[in-house]
C-alpha cells in the first residue's frame, strides 16, 4: 500500500468527523489533508486514522539506555512502592509530578506517557527526601536527573516551549537548598501547618510530648546532626555564581 502523505492539517480540526471525539487524545489521531492510497485519492473524512489505544510493546532499549547512565544506573531496583512520591517535597504542589510513576514509565520505555509530563517532570528540587526513604535505595532523586536527560534528548522542542520558572519552587530552592544545602524539615513542617491552618497544634500537647520523647531517646539529635553538607559554604558560593551568570545570560536574551 503506497501512502502519499501531504500537508498535515492543523490540530484544532483534528478528527472532527469522529463520534465521541472527546474520548480520543489528539496524539492518537492521524489525519492528512490530502491523502492518496494506491493511487486513489481519499481526501476528506476517509483519511482519519485512530492509532490503537492498546500498548503493544515494552521498549527495553530505553531501559538499557537509562541504566547505562550514572544517575539512572539503579533503575532496575525500583519495585513501585510509592515511598518516594509519598515523601516528595514537590508532589503536594504538583500532583502530576510523581517520581514513582516516572520511574515506571522509564522502566517500560513508555515515552508516549512521559511526554504528557514534560511541563512538570523537571521540578525536582533535589531535596533527597525520596532517596532517604526509598527501601530499595534506588536513589530516586538521581533518577529524576536521568528523567531530565531523557526528556531533553527525546523532546527538545517541547522542553523549550513548556518550561517556565515557577515562583513557588524557586523560593523553596533559594531559601532552603541554597541556604542550608538541604531542606529544613522543621521549617517545612511549620509552613505546612500554617498553610493548613493548624498553627495551634504546633505547640499542642502531642507535639510537645513528641519533642520531649525524641530529645530523650536521641532521635532529635540524630536529626539535628544532619546539618549542612560538608563544606557547604563553597558549594553555596559556586551555585550563587552560577545563578548570577545564568541571570546575566537570560537578561541578555541569549537563552540557555
Amino acid at each position: 500500500m503506497a501512502l502519499e502523505k501531504q500537508e498535515q492539517r492543523p490540530a484544532a480540526e483534528k478528527g472532527e468527523h469522529i463520534v465521541a471525539r472527546h474520548l480520543i487524545e489528539d496524539d492518537s489521531i492521524k489525519e492528512e489533508k490530502n491523502l492518496v492510497i494506491d493511487g486513489v485519492d481519499v481526501s476528506g473524512r476517509w483519511n482519519t486514522f485512530i492509532l490503537s489505544r492498546v500498548d503493544s510493546e515494552f521498549d527495553r532499549s530505553f531501559f538499557r539506555e537509562i541504566k547505562d547512565t550514572v544517575v539512572g544506573s539503579r533503575i532496575n531496583r525500583c519495585w513501585q512502592c510509592g515511598m518516594c512520591t509519598a515523601s516528595c517535597t514537590v508532589t503536594p504542589l504538583y500532583r502530576r509530578f510523581n517520581p514513582r510513576a516516572f520511574i515506571y514509565m522509564m522502566q517500560l520505555g513508555n515515552l508516549k506517557e512521559l511526554k504528557k509530563y514534560i511541563d512538570v517532570a523537571w521540578r525536582c528540587v533535589g531535596c533527597y527526601k525520596c532517596s532517604q526513604r526509598c527501601p530499595k535505595q534506588v536513589n530516586p532523586a538521581e533518577m529524576m536527573e536521568a528523567l531530565g536527560l531523557v526528556i531533553k534528548k527525546y523532546f527538545p522542542e517541547e522542553v523549550h516551549s513548556k518550561l517556565k520558572v515557577d515562583e513557588d519552587v524557586k523560593k523553596i530552592y533559594d531559601d532552603m537548598i541554597i541556604g542550608h544545602g538541604r531542606l529544613d524539615l522543621a521549617k517545612l513542617h511549620t509552613s505546612a501547618m500554617q498553610k493548613t491552618g493548624r498553627t495551634k497544634e504546633l505547640l499542642g500537647k502531642i507535639e510537645r510530648d513528641a519533642i520531649f520523647k525524641m530529645a530523650k531517646d536521641g532521635r532529635a539529635f540524630s536529626i539535628l546532626r544532619l546539618g549542612k553538607p560538608h563544606n557547604w559554604s563553597r558549594s553555596k558560593e559556586a551555585i550563587e555564581n552560577y545563578l548570577k551568570n545564568l541571570n546575566t545570560i537570560e537578561n541578555g536574551g541569549t537563552g540557555v
Binding site: 512502592c81 509519598a86 515523601s87 527501601p135 493548624r198 497544634e201 540524630s222
Partner: protein, 347 residues
Amino acid sequence: MSENILVVGGGPAGLNAAVMLSELGVNVALVERDSFLGGNPKKFKYKFLFPDMQPADNVIGELIKKAEAGGGIKVYYSSEISDFKENGKKFDVTLKSADGSEKKTFDSVIVATGFEHFDPARDAKYSYQLFDDVIDIKDLERMMGENNFVRPSNGKPPKKIAFILCVGSRDRHVGNQYCSRVCCTVSVKQAIELREHFPDCEAYIFYMDIRTYGFFEDLYWQAMEEYDVQIVKGRIAEITSGPDNTVICKGEDTLLRGPFEIPFDMVVLASGMEGGPQSPEISSKLGIELDEHGFLKPENITLSPFKSNKPGIFLAGACTGPKAISDSITEGAAAAMNAYTYAVKNR
C-alpha cells in the same frame, strides 16, 4: 543408660523437640532464658493463631503442659549457657541460673533460640512510641490477649484503623532485605478480629504485596469478603500527628497515582522478625555460623535446614529465619530425630 540431649530455647520449636525426645526416653535439659516457657507466643500473649484462629492455648499451652509434666525433661528457667566446649563427639556445657551453675555432658544439642520482634522505633519515619496510638502487631496481640483492646491514648474503641505492612522488613535502610513471612497473615488476622470486636471500626491495610502464602490466603479472602477490610496499594513513608487526636499516614496510592495524608485513630505497624541479639551470641558461644540476615545458618538450607554447620548441633524454629508456628514445630521434630540419631551413633 539413656542419652542426654540439650535443648536451648523453650518456644514452640524447642518445646516440641524436648517433648519428642522425652517420648524416645532421652534425658532432656531444656534451657530457657525467661522465667516461663512458650517463647514469643507466650510472652506477647497471642490469643488466637492463624491460619485457623484456634486458641493459642491449644498449641502452646499443650506443649508447655507436656514439657512441664516431668518425664525425661528437666527445665532450667531463667538460665543460660555460661560455658560450652566440645569434648570429642560430645559437649561439655555449664548451665547457669539463679540457683547456681551446673556442669553436664551432652551427646547432642538443639538450638531453638527463636527470633526478636523488629523494634519499629529504629525506623524514625513510623513515629513508634512518639504517639500513643501508633502500636505494632505484637502490641496488638498482647492487648487482645489481655482483653484490653482500645485506643491507648484515650481508652476508647477505635473508629478507623490502619495496618502498615513490611515495617522493618524488605527495606535496605533498616538493613533487613528479607520478608518476615508471617506479618501479612498476622495483619489480616488481626483486621478480622478487630472488625469482629468493633463492627463499626473501618480497617485499611497499606501494602506493597500481600504475602499470605499457601493456605494463609484463605484469611486474606475472608478479611475482604466477609469483613470488608479495604486494601490500599502503597507503602507508608511517614506518620505524623493529626487534628483531633489522630495520627496521619502519609503515602502514595500507587494505583490512583497520587499522594495522600489520611488521619486514623489508630495505626498498627506490621513489624517483622529479626535474629535478635541471641543469634550472634549463640553463634559465637557454640561456634556455629551466622547468615547474612542475622539468623543462624543451616548447613544446607534446602537439604538439611535443621542442621548447623557443626556435627552434633542442630537447629529448629525461627532462629534460622522467619516462619510460622507449624513450621517451627515441624523443625523441632526434625531436629529431635537428627539429634537422637547422632547421640545413638556416638554412644
